[in-house]
């Protein structure tokens, strides 16, 4: 499977971009060219140069250092928001699958339908208005919308697996429902969950960027790509580079996770490629 994956162009490109973003975020934990939050008004709005490779913003902060710290931020959002969706959603979905047709199953699935009816960005804005703006609340607001996505997928995939003979054999051998889900169902639906996780990861990064652009996501002085884009608009004519780099960073990270997801889908489920 690894051999097939490494011959798949989207997978390789997606993996390379994702590793680059991960690497930059990891590096930013120890080192950035300058202090990402240090303001130097005397050096404000400097175009890219040898000292500040990607220039400085309206407060004289180094754009490259801010972008690097922003990568950490974006990944944190992705990891926690998808983590919330995966842990709660998969548990709910598998539980619904074991009780197919029951009241609990019906209730969980209708709740998922209902969440889908609510426009995510709008609800996130509402949630952030009540919980107050900030990174943690933004992650929560984004994470909540991942729950029904994973619940539906986990339920559908679990039902398919549970119709197989070896599940009946395990039941006959006296294994508990939890044991069957843990030992037989989960390993068999792992692939589809990983693929969806990488897609949701990309969506979470986009959502956080959008919320931060609106000023209700990550709060200053913590650098965030979306917020940098918002700030850049005031100086668009003067310092266009301020708008170009953060947006390119968002697009690159999202592209990386999307390609990785596409590649993984083809590798884990070769039939999907023919479709």
């Amino acid at each position: 499977m690894i051999g097939r994956a490494l011959r798949h162009p989207s997978f390789v490109l997606g993996l390379a971009i994702t590793l680059l973003v991960l690497g930059v975020a990891f590096l930013a934990t120890f080192w950035t060219p300058h202090d990402a939050t240090a303001m130097r008004i005397s050096a404000r709005l400097r175009p890219p140069s040898a000292t500040n490779w990607l220039g400085t913003d309206q407060f004289g902060r180094d754009v490259l250092s801010m972008l690097m710290m922003g990568a950490r931020n974006a990944l944190l959002v992705g990891v926690v928001a998808v983590g919330i969706g995966l842990s709660i959603g998969v548990a709910l979905g598998m539980m619904a699958a074991t009780r197919e047709g029951s009241l609990a199953d019906e209730a969980i699935m209708r709740l998922c339908d209902f969440t889908f009816a609510f426009p995510a960005v709008l609800t996130a804005i509402l949630i952030l208005t009540f919980l107050g703006p900030g990174l943690v609340n933004a992650i929560l607001a984004i994470g909540i919308f991942n729950i029904p996505v994973f619940a539906r997928i986990a339920r559908g995939a679990s039902l398919q697996v549970m119709a197989r003979d070896y599940i009946r054999a395990a039941q006959a051998a006296g294994r508990s429902t939890f044991g069957i889900l843990h030992r037989h169902v989960l390993p068999n639906i792992r692939g589809i969950l990983i693929v969806q996780a990488s897609v949701q990861f990309a969506l979470a990064i986009l959502a956080e960027a959008g919320l931060s652009y609106l000023g209700i996501g990550t709060q200053p002085p913590n650098p965030s790509w979306g917020r940098m884009l918002n700030d850049s608009q005031t100086f668009l004519a003067q310092a266009p580079y301020l708008a170009i780099f953060p947006g390119a960073a968002i697009a690159l990270a999202v592209l990386g996770f999307n390609l990785l997801g596409d590649g993984l889908r083809d590798v884990l489920d070769p039939k999907s490629k023919e479709r």
Binding site: S10, D113, F114, A117, F118, P119, A120, V121, L122, I125, L126, T129, F130, A202, L206, A209, G210, Y213, L214, G226, L229, S232, Q233, L236, A237, P240, A243, I244, P246, G247, I250, A251, L252, V254, L255, N258, L259, D262, R275
Partner: protein, 319 residues
Amino acid sequence: MFAFLARRLATLLTTLAVAAILIFAVTEILPGDPAAAMLGLTATPETVAALRAELGLDAPAFVRFFGWIAGFFTGDLGISYAYRVPVAGLIAERLPVTLPLAIMASLFASILGITLGALAASRANSLVDSALMAGAQVGLAIPNFWFGILMVLLFSITLGWFPAGGFPGWETGFFKGLQALFLPAIALALPQGAVLARLTRTAVLEALGEDFVRTARAKGLTRGQTLRRHVLRNAMVPVITMLALQFSFLITGTIIIENVFALPGLGRLIFQSVGGHDLVTVKSLVMIYVGAVILVNALVDIAYGLIDPRLRFGRGVGR
């Protein structure tokens, strides 16, 4: 047929009712005292009491709830706290910006997505196909608000072809209005167009493999004729469904895009009202947005059932 429609209608009404209760609870019950929440920490007890009286908060919650719902039919949605004018008037004033914007964006997305998707499918596995699909992948990754900013940079600041933001109003001329909405509509359309292009390609490829295509070619139709008359028509069902379902992303996209281009539409109003704690306006606006999404999804479901009778007995689209 009748049973199917009745069931869908019942689901639609239930979903709308639950949504309304939830929105009412979030804006009027969860904050404790909405008047205090709107006025902030510095408010004196007298001003809070005055606002409570103005909003009629002393009435029981269920009376206020039904009064609010009735307002959607009578056109009385209360007075906006931030703007001091009727909410219904505010909405009527902003709708002529958001509605044309959403329609233009849908139009651009469908033209872009369907044309490029069909082109990619008709040249499947060629260089053109690969380039188009790579383009769609990039289109999906680019945040629409960044695309908007880049277009302002190029077409407004550098070339001066379009205004950088704002809306002059339709009374200054139809063309001027269209010009102000053009870049925002393109920005909104980009990700939707990319999704549609990918879907159209898949749907066309699937239809190309069907027997009727071989029959059409065998009876002497050219490749182009077969594509136009038989393939595209069959491939359009999932594409149109997706277009309708994308509506949800599109209208929430207006919240961000109207902020990028400083357009005085519903999206910007909702954001400003949330920021200004104008719960009176927020409540009705959110209901309108959510209601529109629920309605469109239900219509798609019903249309699907009418087109394909097998779906009438299932649980609907995508389940």
